[in-house]
């Protein structure tokens, strides 16, 4: 029999919260396939990935920021701005697709770096700087155009409609891109000095500084990475929706933060896994899928359930911190 001490020790490991989410995800899948006919198919899981590929990329960037002890509220707006820029550059200026993608990714990175510079050099709160970034990006969307821009570029439509057959189902190229980013992010976080510096800053910025780690450079790069991820998520979103619109993905920064928290990353920074975020994103997606399958529940239940889950996970995190 497992005694209490062992149990406490187990719950105190950083991986525990992430594992709980994986178990929750499996439970939801089992419960879903029990209640709804046709739920337990490979394609439902793949659709989960297809519909949430953009959120996954967004949440990966957010995980980096939160691991380093910061927060980035601008990601949703940067995503919208990217879709808008893609639409504008492709449809009005008739740039080629690769050039557009490279440009928006570079702009996203630059935007993040700019916020990182403000946060690091002027010791401004990440929260308020990225809030301003959120306003700025959303405002720039409206400057480009108030109406939705339909994208009919050949490359974008191909990316939108192309299906990669896999295990009797199919996934979109967006999913492959998102998973590639995921693998790269896991590698950087756990196997490079940059990753270790990030964890160190999240653990205690002052100590990291005293250890001689390049705190400033790392912090600025982390916000740059988050901006890059937001722009990439925007590109994926353009593939998915084939349009640019200023109101795209409103409030997705909250979904991203929620995914990170549900994925087991501590909001105080320093503890958590990029891989955990995947399960967080999938749990959020699963809630939406289940509500869609049920049909009788209204969309606002999504918000209430996400709020409830956030609460439960925050409570669990507090308990973990106490037992440690």
């Amino acid at each position: 029999m497992m005694n209490i001490a062992k149990l406490t020790a187990m719950t105190a490991t950083p991986a525990f919260a992430s594992l709980t989410t994986v178990v929750l995800l499996l439970l939801m899948l089992v419960a879903g396939s029990y209640y709804f006919p046709g739920f337990g198919s490979v394609q439902v899981v793949f659709n989960l990935l297809i519909d949430n590929a953009y959120l996954l990329v967004l949440a990966i960037g957010m995980t980096y920021v939160i691991l380093s002890g910061g927060i980035d509220l601008s990601v949703g707006s940067v995503l919208a701005l990217t879709t808008m820029l893609c639409g504008f550059l492709l449809q009005t200026w008739h740039w080629s697709a690769p050039l557009v993608i490279v440009t928006v990714l570079a702009l996203g990175f630059g935007f993040g770096v700019l916020m990182g510079v403000l946060i690091h050099f002027f010791k401004l709160q990440a929260f308020i700087v990225t809030l301003a970034g959120m306003f700025l990006a959303r405002g720039l969307c409206y400057v480009i155009g108030i109406n939705s821009i339909t994208i009919d570029n050949g490359f974008f439509t191909t990316m939108s409609q192309f299906q990669v057959t896999l295990l009797g189902g199919f996934i979109s190229p967006g999913v492959i891109i998102a998973l590639t980013v995921l693998i790269a992010a896991i590698y950087i976080a756990h196997y490079t000095t940059f990753g270790r510096t990030m964890y160190a800053i999240g653990g205690n910025e002052q100590s990291a500084q005293m250890m001689g780690l390049p705190v400033g450079r790392a912090k600025i790069l982390i916000y740059g990475f988050s901006g890059f991820c937001a722009a990439l998520a925007g590109v994926l979103f353009s593939f998915y929706m084939l349009s640019g619109y200023a109101l795209h993905a409103e409030g997705s920064e909250l979904d991203a933060i929620a995914s990170v928290v549900i994925g087991g990353t501590l909001l105080t920074g320093g503890v958590g896994y990029v891989a955990g975020t995947v399960s967080g994103v999938l749990v959020l997606g699963m809630i939406q899928t289940m509500i869609a399958f049920d049909g009788s529940l209204s969309s606002w239940w999504t918000k209430i359930v996400i709020g409830g889950l956030l609460l439960i996970f925050c409570l669990a995190q507090r308990l973990m911190m106490r037992t440690r």
Binding site: F127, I128, L254
Partner: protein, 342 residues
């Protein structure tokens, strides 16, 4: 000497920014300072600005205290939605046929206070980070409000209720009186008693405040509850003004504007230093800015960009790092360019 004291007054920066904005308006918008009396009501740009700013001022006032305790409340928009929805729903309910207005508004405020207490308990009782603790209600609260109205826009039909948000008393919009009453009450509360001092102490150092004998938890809980009440009241005002409850849109992005108003007013986001009058001026600046942008014929799309630039500028002007860098740059300059300051 007196001039210097005057110049160093914390309200000087927001006030001069506001006056500067008014000056621009006076020059570029014809008839900006003109008032006219129609049907015994005072009309004019300034009246309009004050009237439209009132929900923002109310929310900002509550938020000021929370920020002063080094917290943040991003659920104010959702709380406003809940309170407004509750008020409009109860007005139509037969159970409140007797004096529905009083009961409906009271119930809405009580709901809002409960929301505030919930936030406070999460922050104080469980020690969650304020931004995350209030994010839970921000996400779920709007869902709850939509649940109450079943996703529909609920129209209010009780005439006296509209008076709160769009009525006139002695020639001025009634909401102005509500804002003034709340402002006077809160100022009395924090400056007339030791509460303001406690809030500042908690904001500067919660542990030290507790060791000094201040019940830090109670002070924080109170500030969240009061912030909830203020947000609720502004939700009621918004619903009364638009004569309906649209759970999806009441107070949308209100939290951002409120934080901006508080910051503009000179309240430090690091806690410990706050100014209620500053917040009022901050909210007025935001509303005047919006009014100016619309009147100048600048596309309203630029509104958000200008707000973003204003936030960054204000934060930079408060940053001590910038001062350090500036001093460093100045010391590099040849002596004759530097004005002697002794």
């Amino acid at each position: 000497m007196r001039l210097k004291l005057f110049r160093q007054h914390p309200l000087m920066k927001p006030l001069s920014a506001f006056l500067f904005l008014l000056l621009i308006d006076a020059i570029v918008i014809p008839g900006f300072f003109q008032f006219s009396i129609k049907n015994g009501h005072l009309y004019g740009s300034l009246i309009d600005i004050v009237n439209r700013a009132s929900p923002l001022i109310l929310t900002g006032l509550g938020l000021t205290l929370v920020i002063a305790t080094r917290g943040i409340d991003i659920s104010v928009g959702a709380v406003a939605a809940i309170a407004g929805t509750v008020a409009v729903l109860l007005l139509a309910s037969p159970a409140f046929a007797h004096n529905p207005m009083l009961w409906a508004v009271a119930a809405a405020i009580v709901c809002a206070i409960l929301c505030g207490i919930w936030n406070g308990l999460l922050v104080v009782g469980l020690g969650l980070q304020p931004i995350i603790a209030t994010m839970i209600l921000m996400v779920a609260g709007r869902g709850l409000a939509q649940l109450l109205t079943d996703g529909q826009i609920q129209t209010a039909s009780y005439e006296p209720f509209f008076f709160l948000g769009s009525g006139y008393l002695f020639g001025l919009p009634f909401s102005v009186y509500i804002v003034a009453a709340v402002f006077v009450m809160m100022t009395g509360l924090v400056r007339g008693t030791a509460l303001g001092l406690f809030i500042e102490a908690v904001g500067i150092n919660p542990v030290a405040a507790r060791l000094a004998g201040i019940r830090a938890g109670a002070v924080m809980l109170f500030s969240y509850a009061l912030c909830g009440a203020c947000a609720g009241l502004s939700g009621v005002l918004i619903c009364s003004n638009i004569q309906s409850a649209d759970a999806n849109n009441i107070g949308l992005l209100l939290e951002l504007d409120a934080i901006l108003a508080v910051t503009l007013g000179g309240t430090s986001l690091d806690g410990g230093r706050f100014s209620l009058a500053g917040t009022v001026i901050g909210a007025m600046i935001i509303q005047t800015l919006t009014y100016t942008i619309y009147s100048l014929g600048v596309p309203p799309e630029f509104n958000m960009i200008i707000k973003a630039l204003v936030v960054v500028t204000v934060c930079l002007s408060q940053s001590s790092e910038l001062k350090k860098i500036w001093t460093m740059v100045r010391s590099q300059l040849p002596a004759r360019y530097v004005k002697k300051t002794s």
